[in-house]
Structures are given as C-alpha cells and as structure tokens.
C-alpha cells in the first residue's frame, strides 16, 4: 500500500485557511486615499460635528464661512499628523460628544459669534477629530494618504455645506438649519448619557 503524500492535504488545508478579518477602514477598492474619503462619509462621529460647525459658519455669513473652510481642514490635517505620530492618544470620545452638544446648541440658538470665534471652534473640532482619526489610522497601519483623503472630504463637505447655507434668507430655511442644530445637540447630550452609563454600568 502506497502511503499518501503530505502535499495534497497540506495544500488543501492552506487553501481552506480562513482569511484575517481586515477591519476597519471601509475598503473602497480604489486605494487608501479613497478609503479615507469614504471613511469620513460613513463616520457619523466625524460628520455630525463637521456639519454643525459648517451650518454655524453658514448662518453667520460669507466671512465666517471662508474662515471655517480654511481652519477646519487645516486643523484636521494637523491633528491627524499628530495622531499618526503619537504612540497613544487618550480616550477623548466624551470630548467629541460634548462638541456635538456645544456646536449644536450654538446652531440652534443662532449664536451671533464673530467669524474668528467660529473659525477657532472649527479648528478645535477639526484638531480633535483629526487627532482621533490619526490615532485610529496609526493603529491599523494605514498610509498617510488615507489621512489626506479624509481631509479632502472634510474640505469638500465644509465648503458645500457652508456655501449652501450662506445665501439662505428665507425664515423657514434658517429655521430648518437651527432645527438640525438642535438635533445635533440632542444627539450630543444622549451620547454623554451613554458614555456616563458605560463608565458606571
């Protein structure tokens, strides 16, 4: 009786090896740059505050809009680079939730802030989200181009949202923007509740 060789069953075994679950940037199939762009569009934690700050800038007019469109992506990029470089970043999830609350309240109340203050808020939010994005990217070992994809998406969304709101004069449309802000604030408040519950189960 001829002894069966090791090669066929080994080959079968190797072919049947389960692949590693690769997570989690959503893979666009178009490379890391577009993975980053898609990541932003599918991340409500990034999107909500971005939209709130862009709505706030839009309500306050073109000057605030211009400042915000410059400050937000620049700060996001800087924060991202810092996050990529740092070995560890503390858990700042609560700060993100607090940012939703503050930015949402400012939009809901149509706060009459000067453009420079709105740009500072945008820079603060962009820096925070960039830092968290950079840390996450470093953890999964992705390329820097992913961060650039995220930042380009931030710039595009901030630009489009601000540009859409700046010319709005109709009362109902401005009310709709403020209602959207109140929703962001409510989400931020609920998020803080969730975090408090998770911290003290």
């Amino acid at each position: 009786m001829r002894r069966p060789g090791l090669t066929p069953p080994l080959a079968a075994g190797l072919l049947a090896l389960p692949g590693a679950a690769e997570a989690h940037l959503v893979t666009s199939g178009l490379g890391p740059f577009y993975d980053g762009t898609l990541h932003l569009l599918l991340s409500p934690a990034d999107l909500l505050g971005l939209l709130a700050v862009a709505l706030l800038a839009g309500l306050r007019g073109p000057r605030a809009g211009r400042f915000t469109v410059m400050a937000l992506p620049c700060a996001w990029l800087l924060g991202g680079l810092v996050g990529l470089g740092l070995p560890t970043v503390p858990d700042l999830t609560w700060l993100g939730a607090a940012a939703f609350l503050v930015l949402g309240l400012l939009v809901a109340t149509d706060a009459k802030l000067p453009p420079i203050a709105i740009a500072a808020l945008a820079a603060g939010y962009g820096g925070l989200r960039g830092l968290l994005n950079g840390d996450a990217l470093a953890a999964i070992g992705t390329e820097w181009s992913t961060l650039f994809g995220i930042v380009l998406a931030v710039l595009t969304l901030a630009l489009l949202t601000t540009a859409a709101v700046v010319p709005v004069r109709a009362l109902w449309a401005r009310v709709a923007v403020r209602v959207a802000g109140s929703w962001v604030a409510a989400v931020g408040m609920l998020m803080l509740g969730w975090l408090a519950q998770a911290a003290d189960p």
């Binding site: 069966p4 989690h24 009310v175 929703w183």
Partner: protein, 204 residues
C-alpha cells in the same frame, strides 16, 4: 514497531494537521463599525413604538401650529432637547417619579391646550413642553437596548421625534381654514381622550 503502525501514524497525523490549519484562529481585528444600520433603525423605530409617545409628540406639533410663529418651531426644538435631558437621566439611572403618569398627562394636557386653543406666553409654552419631554426621554433612556451603536441610535431617535413633530405641524396647517380650526380642536380632543385612556392604564 510493527509495519502497520508505521503506516497508520501519518494517516492520523495528516487529517489532524489539516484540521488544525483549517481551524487556526487568526487575529480578528476590531470591527467597531458593525451593526450601524441596526442602531439607526432601532433608534428610529423606538419613539414610534408606543402610542402614548406618538400621540404626545404629534400634539406638540399641533399646538405649535396653533400658536404660530415663533412657537411653531421653538416647541419642536425644545422637545427633543429636553427629551435628551430626560434620556440622560434615564441612561444614568437617575430616578424620576411617576414617569408613566407624566407621559399620559402630557397627552391629556397638550390635547386640552389644543382643544381649548389656549395661547400661553412662549416661555410658559416651552416650559410645559419641556417638562413633559423629560418624562418621555426618561422612559426611552431606561428602555434602551444594550449593544446598539450609540451615536446612530441617538441620531435615529432624535430624527424620529422631530419627524413626529413635523407630522403634527403638517396636520396643524389645516387651521388656515375656518372648518380646519374646528377640526384641529377636534384633533386636540382626540389626543386628550387618548391621554385619559393612557392615564387610566398608568394609574390602574
């Protein structure tokens, strides 16, 4: 060692090796983004899961429409925000007495206000809506299921609440016509009757 044993040993070893390779655990990298749609849909459906909530939230829109500007939009902003405050109280386990009674009373009072066409000052109207919103939020906060995507759940929850107010506002638009004003008051009576039914259940 007999020849037969030499022959059998690889026959056992090879399937074992293959089985080991096939079932070899690989590192599962964290899937933090999974279940998002479930979280959003769950949040979206939660406010419409109970008729007592639905009736009260629509009544807020009806009353806002009846009061006109600026209550028309301030009330639907105040309600979700105060409901979120109640949600935080519920999530953190802070006790709020008489939640079910408060929810039922919200329908009774808001229905009565619409029925009577009562025009309270804006601050008083916001206070009435805000106090009742805390009861609704607390009930939702204590009922939230574990394992949901928190941000999407919250987003769905707030959007559903806002849309229920919008339904009330849309229905309230009938008050532009004289028969519509009476019909709107009739809708208030229905809300109030439903509230009395819920109150009966809460006190029983």
């Amino acid at each position: 060692m007999p020849d037969t044993q030499i022959l059998r040993r690889p026959l056992i070893a090879i399937p074992a090796l293959v089985a080991m390779l096939v079932t070899w655990p690989l590192a599962a990298w964290a899937h933090v983004e999974s279940g998002q749609a479930g979280g959003f849909m769950s949040g979206l459906s939660h406010p419409v899961s109970g008729l007592d909530h639905v009736v009260a939230m629509i009544a807020v829109g009806l009353w806002g429409a009846q009061l006109g500007m600026p209550a028309l939009w301030i009330l639907p902003i105040a309600f979700p925000m105060m409901m979120a405050v109640g949600g935080v109280l519920g999530l953190t386990g802070a006790p709020v007495p008489g939640v079910e009674v408060g929810i039922a009373l919200s329908a009774v009072v808001l229905g009565a206000l619409v029925l009577g066409g009562l025009r309270l000052p804006l601050a008083a109207a916001v206070a009435v809506v805000g106090v009742f919103a805390v009861f609704h939020g607390h009930a939702h906060g204590t009922e939230l299921q574990a394992g949901q995507d928190a941000i999407l759940y919250s987003l769905g929850f707030v959007i559903a609440t806002g849309l229920l107010h919008a339904v009330g506002i849309a229905i309230g638009a009938i008050q532009r016509w004289s028969p519509g004003r009476q019909a709107l008051r009739g809708a208030g009576a229905l809300v109030m009757a439903a509230g009395i039914y819920f109150l009966w259940g809460a006190l029983a």
